[in-house]
Symmetry: C2
Subunit: 494 residues, 2 copies
């Protein structure tokens, strides 16, 4: 008889060592079979998406289920959870996978993206920057994206949840670089008031970031735009000079490649020159517009991005990848690291093993735990190729021009702004703001198409923001027909 | 003959309307079949995970592929992309899905989490807070999590990428609430210096957040800890009084439920009392430790969380969900909204349609685009039930106590700190820092187990951070045996 060890005594306390994995081969088989069923339903859903409604309001019964169901203390099992998803959730999404969804600049995902997400969740790494394959995949994606964006091959960067976070990282590095003192250590009260410049067309991430970064939105100088919604450069120069004279320190211009309202792009080359002359940080918010740079044909529209100190863009919008994924590229890799790196005792650098050399991404970012969103970018670029994605972007711009043409040719509709890229803002002729809004809401409610609304020059406009690889010209024919007929209804007071 | 319309003329310009979806039924069938093959390989991988190495260094050939492959301008197709993943990426992860991974507090995911990620990518909503099912799912998850955390049912909150972002949101709301003036508009220079308090054991997110928020890390008052690594409350009271006397404004105490080094928890009830008396914001960083609250048995260890103004925790750690997912709960829902809401013209509120009532989450957060990470939380809670997840947490604590027992009983090993929860820090007796580090690296390199390292009281320690539902007591037997034998090797100079 073997000697009785102290462990044996401890082990006599019974402990249920069941896991959250299936426990038996039969349970594994059942779970695997459920996953196969979900793949089939996922593909059924995608293949028939065009035949479904774009968006439908949640029925009251479904709303109740999603609102009133009590915390499940005891599990109902994976099959029931999947069935509830299929019944109560999948049919009532916002609609962005449908060919006639053009709201708020959203992408619709792809089958390759779906498979990538399945594989990412299987491998499930924390991509903090260990010595592992997932970290290398993200670094490779960053190199590829830097090349596509015309940035130097040794640029730094990383993938974030989306444009806001990517832009924020760029701005934080810019502030660190240009504040003129150790803002990380001492905070804003140790230096002169810092000033950042953008136009009235800039996206709301910037005000929110200025607030969060403690500079306050009053430190943001809003520069006017010209008739094409591009930054007024004389006004910019004057504002910088005025601020310097008042004892403030201008640190950064945030230019936009593809404004959210109309798709306008500031004169990036001129702003790069101004930033260079003024020793300011040149950040480009290119949430969707930056991707025009991938196309030789469209590149002139966004020329100058390649001179940015930092540029942020989304891949879940015009890169057609599933939510969520955005990217920031930083020209000066050393500055990027200097703006974020910190030593933490539980991240002790090791010479060998998975933490050898420290945690790459944790040192370039506020986040420490990071999911494997790089995989969907890596697999999308490998499977489709950058050229195929670029061709979709060009197609969207052509289709937007087609829609602009249809609106111009219509006797009932009119453009509310120029259409430089992929955003078409329009109004029903003679309709006031409330009537245009009513037309939009009826169009949405009937599940025909989902444009969104915005304010252009103080007036409401229907906005078709097009980053949808599934749309066809015939979808825009249908949209125009629907807008004309719903418009007639509304104008007639029906 | 039908009349020739202007559209017809435009349409004569040929346009390739191919999408990124498969084009033909045969292509759809091939893509579907690839997805099925990936499900099988995913399940093969999971079922045999215990038999694989925890971590292995990337071979030079694989490293070259992941480093040197040129930007794929032309696609290689989805099959080739998947094959490259299977060959070059999947085998070389950091190891956290393996039963003997206990590094840096990471979770290992579950099969239900994988299926949820597949479904989330299929539906692919932007969960900015539209009138859609995905938004309702996230709100339901927040209600359930508030209940599990003992927070009021009407608490606000949202899911973020992880603990850092969740904690940051809590701190931003706290600053807004307690700054005493409109810090969003005016910035930090308009008020007195603000002060935030934490211990020397606090996680690095806090320093990084203070820096990013413009307060500078010098605005963070580091309070000492007692022998059990808990905040010294007299020192806290004194620091607050000193800062007030010096004209600074103490706004927030960040307490920790489960420190990253040793799993210690500050006296949350006492700190709640101090914050109440001082009219300061009480934030709890409960990255993993907060989940102990879900267990009746463990709840006394983290009592006081239910009094927090804001609490942040991860679900990809001790909630066993796939990366990435963290949560912040805010007691005062109105304050939460007031700290972030902004009006943007392209987010014009509508009375009906998918944007009816504004964008819920965009108004409570810096991010605008947000993925559907709520689905994996919703499906995990529904499928397993909260009780089953709680049982795993309790099991991990019992197994940690078992490991602590084994270390205490060993003649070669010793504990480096008390083990209040799920983190066991240990050293080889008589070994110096370099020798302990060498033992750890050999253990990792041989693919036996992955603990991490840290610094405790100025000395290196091997740290077993246990949030792994797949581990068994026998895995800790194996760990102790391996540490003893590798330790003997290292001490003998081999």
């Amino acid at each position: 008889m073997a000697e009785r060890t102290p462990q044996d005594a401890f082990k006599e306390t019974p402990l249920d060592e069941t896991t959250l994995d299936p426990s038996t081969p039969a349970e594994w088989a059942a779970m695997r079979s459920l996953a196969h069923r979900m793949v089939d339903l996922s593909f059924d859903h995608m293949e028939s998406r065009r035949e479904q409604s774009v968006w439908q309001q949640l029925p009251g019964t479904v709303r109740s289920v999603l609102k009133d169901e009590e915390l499940p203390r005891r599990g109902e099992g994976a099959v029931a959870a999947c069935d509830s998803f299929l019944q109560n959730v999948l049919p009532y999404g916002v609609g962005n996978t449908h060919p006639r969804f053009w709201g708020w600049v959203m992408g619709g995902g792809t089958p390759v993206g779906i498979v990538a997400e399945l594989l990412a969740a299987t491998m499930n790494p924390n991509v903090g920057g260990f010595d592992d394959s997932a970290t290398m995949v993200e670094l490779q994606v960053i190199r590829w994206l830097a090349e596509l964006m015309g940035m130097p091959v040794h640029s730094s960067g990383l993938l974030m949840s989306g444009g806001t976070m990517a832009n924020l990282i760029g701005l934080v590095v810019g502030r660190y670089a240009r504040a003129g003192y150790d803002v990380r250590a001492e905070g804003l009260q140790a230096g002169p008031p810092l000033r950042v410049y953008c136009t009235s067309e800039a996206h709301s991430w910037l005000k929110k970031s200025m607030e969060m970064m403690g500079m306050g939105r009053s430190s943001l100088r809003i520069i006017g735009v010209d008739a094409r919604f591009m930054m007024n450069l004389d006004e910019l120069r004057q504002a910088i000079a005025d601020d310097r004279a008042a004892g403030c320190r201008p640190i950064c211009v945030v230019a936009t490649a593809g404004t959210v309202n109309t798709g306008a792009t500031d004169d990036l080359v001129a702003i790069a020159d101004i930033c260079q002359a003024e020793q300011m940080w040149f950040h480009v918010d290119g949430a969707f517009g930056a991707l025009a740079y991938w196309s030789e044909k469209l590149r002139p529209l966004v020329r100058g991005i390649e001179r940015a100190d930092s540029v942020a863009f989304d891949l879940h919008k015009w890169g057609y990848m599933p939510y969520d994924i955005g990217c920031v590229l930083i020209r000066d890799a050393e500055l990027h690291k200097a703006a974020f790196a910190t030593g933490a005792s539980y991240l002790t650098a090791m010479e060998r093993g998975p933490a050898a050399g420290g945690l790459y991404f944790a040192d370039r970012n506020i986040e420490l735990s990071r999911g494997f969103r790089a995989l969907k970018a890596w697999m999308s670029l490998k499977a489709y190729g950058a050229d195929a994605i670029t061709a979709q972007i060009e197609k969207n711009v052509e289709q937007s021009a087609y829609l602009a043409y249809l609106v111009g040719a219509s006797h009932k509709l009119q453009l509310a702004a120029e259409v430089p890229l992929n955003i078409v803002c329009l109004r029903y002729q003679g309709a006031d703001d409330d009537q245009n809004k009513e037309i939009l809401m009826r169009l949405q409610e009937r599940g025909i198409a989902i444009p969104s609304g915005t304010i252009i020059n103080g007036r409401f406009a229907i906005r078709v923001a097009h980053s949808n690889h599934r749309s066809r010209r015939e979808d825009f024919d249908l949209l125009v027909d629907a807008l004309e007929s719903i418009g007639a209804e509304v104008m007639a007071g029906h």
